[in-house]
């Protein structure tokens, strides 16, 4: 009896389930005195609703069937936008690639071809009148700066 009280005390102070389970397996499960403090299988069965007491469940399948149909429809509806997004995103990507490609070829052309042709400025006009032009080329540089001034 003292041992039972000791085990029950230890059970209440041990916070770990593993420790509690150890006490259960080592003492409580095999101790008649401790088992008396637990509800028996029969007592618990008398408290629980048994399968025979559940009653009529004929209405369950039609409800499940309706719900399944709804869920399947929902899945299809959810599938459409998902595909829509995918197609939209792919279309946008193609449009961006095409746009960049066209912009690139229009504005930058083929750089090697441009280099082949000599670059010439025949005259510069400021306010629709021929301007005075000055060319500067810094020392040791390929850069040429063109300064245009209104011819007053």
């Amino acid at each position: 009896m003292f041992r039972c009280r000791m085990v029950n005390f230890l059970f209440s102070i041990i916070p770990l389930r593993i420790g509690q389970d150890f006490l259960l397996r080592k003492h409580i499960r095999n101790c008649a005195s401790c088992q008396e403090n637990l509800a028996s299988l029969e007592e618990i069965k008398s408290l629980l609703i048994q399968e025979a007491e559940v009653g009529d469940l004929e209405g369950l399948w039609p409800k499940v069937e309706v719900q399944l149909a709804k869920e399947e429809r929902k899945e299809k509806v959810f599938c459409l936008p998902r595909w829509g997004w995918a197609v939209g995103a792919a279309g946008l990507l193609v449009a961006i690639i095409l746009g960049v490609w066209l912009f690139w070829s229009d504005y930058f052309g083929k750089p090697s071809e441009q280099l082949d042709r000599p670059f010439q400025i025949k005259y510069i006009r400021v306010h629709d009148k021929p301007a005075r032009a000055y060319l500067f080329q810094p020392q040791d540089s390929n850069m040429i700066i063109i300064w245009a001034e209104e011819n007053i």
Binding site: R17, I18, Q20, D21, L24, R25, I28, N37, L38, A39, L41, E43, I44, K45, S46, L47, L48, I49, Q50, E51, E53, V54, L57, L60, W61, K63, V64, E65, Q67, L68, E71
Partner: protein, 182 residues
Amino acid sequence: MSDQQLISSCLEGEAEAFKEMVDRYKTKAMALALNVLGNREDAEDACQETFIRVYFNLDKFDLQGSFRNWFYTILSNRCLDLLRKRRRFFSFFKKMKAEYSDRASVQSSSSSESQPLTQNILQGLSPKERVVLCLWASEGYSGVEIGRVMKCSPSTARVLLFKARKKIKNKMEKANVSLSNG
């Protein structure tokens, strides 16, 4: 037809096979849900949602495993989810009740008084303890099997069962004392 054969038929798209599965498990499911949730409306909802989840997740089920365990895992999770939602709702409801009227409190107290004694005893347990108790008493599951269903260790399952049995014994003794006195 075994569960595994039924599942194979369901996966092949046979609606009749799923209906048979529902027929096979509906009583067990309802008994467990009723015992855990304590009212028929919620129990029916839990069963319905469980069967729908089972249907849409059948392809994920390992045919080598036990369908019954897998089914009870889904069902018990559904019941525990429902109880969690209900608890959240009631905590909100309690706040509202405190702010607005006393009438609701009178109604709720009268409904709890009208609950049968057995239900009161079961409601004194935690939801997990109720699930463990049902699996042990109605299905004859061992600690290891309960652990598999509840996704916890066998030790945890055994401890939960022990605590539930002890609480019930205490409550039954108290109820007997009060009945014999009254």
